[in-house]
């Protein structure tokens, strides 16, 4: 761990220099991100303020689930933005080069570009989340807040597993960004409680692509709307996704053939 922290710090510094070398573009991007976030909240508010609760979830529940989804999505984008361009490294041969580094190759490619612009917008999202739960929603007993943070951590481990899976499949498909977008499309079903969907979709989001455990689990803990057993199963599923990602990486990396750069 002590070996990897300086590498993350160095990568972060380089990412910041790279990402902020054109401050005007960076500013426009950050404004765009905030505008999109505000638009989505307004969209939810105006569209659902006059409709009756859906499957027992009112407007504020829906907004809360959206904010939790946004938190997981934003942190994942900030930490693993470099993964989207992993396929380019397979084409141009830089994967060969980085494989020679005295550092774990998977770790290097996972954290080689920590997006500074997402890191800058993250405090705004976190700040609004805190404002929302304190002023407009509710803060549960401390044990559920701790449970929420633990669940969020495991959700992020699962999302990291999915990023590793996409990188692993790139050895075969030579494409990473679009594979991640397929996951992000499905993850959007978790912007609302998955219980609102039909039984077949609910089953799919529970057992096939477990959005219920990855995206919805922290929100359910905050609402104290989950049994200990289900929570433990959720944590187990999150860990299982990470393990599947790691195993796939180990296996498919063997199929990589150098481009002789």
């Amino acid at each position: 761990m002590a070996k990897y922290l300086p590498i993350i710090r160095q990568n972060m510094l380089m990412s910041f220099k790279q990402g902020l070398y054109n401050p005007f573009s960076a500013l426009i991007f950050i404004i765009g991100k905030i505008v999109r976030f505000v638009f989505f909240l307004l969209f939810l508010f105006f569209l659902f303020k006059k409709v009756p609760p859906i499957a027992g979830f009112d407007l504020y529940d829906l907004m809360f689930y959206f904010l939790v989804f946004n938190l997981i999505d934003a942190i994942a984008q900030a930490l693993w933005r470099g993964v989207y361009h992993f396929d380019a490294k397979l084409y141009d041969g830089s994967f060969d080069y980085t494989s020679l580094y005295p550092v774990n190759t998977l770790f290097y490619h996972l954290f080689n570009y920590i997006d500074p612009l997402d890191i800058i917008t993250l405090p705004i999202f976190i700040g609004y989340f805190i404002f929302f739960v304190v002023k407009l929603y509710f803060v549960p007993a401390p044990i559920f807040v701790v449970g929420f943070i633990i669940s969020l951590f495991f959700s992020l481990l699962a999302v990291m597993g999915i990023h590793i899976l996409a990188m692993s499949l790139s050895f075969k498909s030579k494409i990473t960004g679009e594979l991640l977008w397929i996951w992000r499309n499905f993850s959007q079903l978790g912007r609302v409680p998955v219980r609102i969907y039909s039984k077949a979709v609910y089953f799919f989001l529970l057992y096939i692509i477990p959005v219920a455990f990855i995206i919805n689990l922290p929100a359910r803990v905050w609402q104290a709307n989950i049994s200990l057993n289900t929570w433990l199963i959720g944590i187990g599923v999150d860990l299982l996704i990470l393990i599947i990602g790691l195993i796939t990486w180990r296996r498919l990396r063997r199929s990589y053939v150098s481009v002789s750069s």
């Binding site: 573009s25 569209l47 679009e178 499309n185 969907y197």
Partner: protein, 264 residues
């Protein structure tokens, strides 16, 4: 005339070959489109059909149809290759295009026509089964509304292409275009009606230029429009097209004058 057609045919042919150089990429990007559509249908089906939620004057079936039509219009109108021009200006590859024995605008139009035809035809592979499956929940367009929608489609394609070219022209004056493109898509995403029918927030919003990319073609396919005359909307759209065309001319003529074509 034949020579021009032959020239455009060759441009399209090479462009298609270039687009299909990586087949697995093409297949996965189509899979991405399918998942995006399925997720949208699953979400709105649950809200509208399963829970019977009604938004304004839109019945659940009308609303579900609206979202399906916005997806189709997005595929046809907003699928573009013109967004790569900004990067080619910055990298200097744009110099190559200027040396072609055809001026840039017809060249871009030939690219757009081929790309849109190809994108639409390949999307039909999954769109037809999905429409067939959802047939009983959809408000299908009448012949009259289909013809009117076609006019809005053409208008939307032209407006969108010119807006994309204006955004690409940022490459003439800056070292990157991605931030401007991102902001454009954020604004377009909310003002073009792909997330909700714009008239739910008032008729004035339906006359913004982005509304012609998604909202109007989809809304016309649904049938009668009671809050505003579709012909008035078409008239305003043509007005926007003229304004955007002059902005495009201005920005591109200034951009081409300042273009140094370095590094290639």
């Amino acid at each position: 005339m034949f020579k021009v057609f032959l020239r455009l045919w060759h441009i399209g042919h090479f462009f298609l070959k270039d687009s299909l150089a990586f087949r697995s990429q093409f297949f996965i990007s189509k899979l991405m489109e399918v998942t995006s559509l399925l997720v949208m249908i699953i979400f709105w089906y649950a809200i509208l059909i399963s829970h019977g939620v009604k938004f304004g004057s839109y019945s659940p079936h009308t609303m579900l149809s609206y979202f399906l039509y916005t997806f189709i219009t997005q595929q046809i109108i907003a699928s573009t290759r013109l967004n790569t021009i900004g990067d080619s200006i910055i990298s200097g590859q744009f110099t190559r295009l200027l040396l072609y024995p055809i001026s840039p605008l017809p060249l871009f139009l030939a690219w757009e026509i081929v790309f849109k035809l190809f994108s639409t035809l390949t999307s039909l592979v999954y769109l037809i089964p999905i429409i067939f499956f959802l047939k009983s929940y959809l408000v299908l367009p009448s012949a009259a509304s289909s013809w009117l929608a076609l006019a809005f489609f053409i208008l939307g394609i032209l407006i969108f292409a010119l807006l994309t070219l204006i955004i690409s022209a940022v490459g003439f004056f800056s070292t990157e275009t991605w931030s401007a493109t991102f902001l454009f898509w954020v604004l377009a995403g909310f003002l073009n009606g792909q997330y909700f029918p714009l008239d739910l927030l008032g008729p004035a919003l339906t006359l913004n230029p982005f509304a012609y990319i998604n909202y109007w073609p989809s809304r016309i396919l649904l049938g009668s429009v009671d809050f505003i005359s579709p012909f008035f909307a078409l008239f305003v759209g043509v007005g926007w097209l003229i304004i955007i065309y002059f902005i495009f001319k201005l920005v591109w003529s200034r951009g081409l004058k300042s273009f140094a074509g370095w590094g290639n």
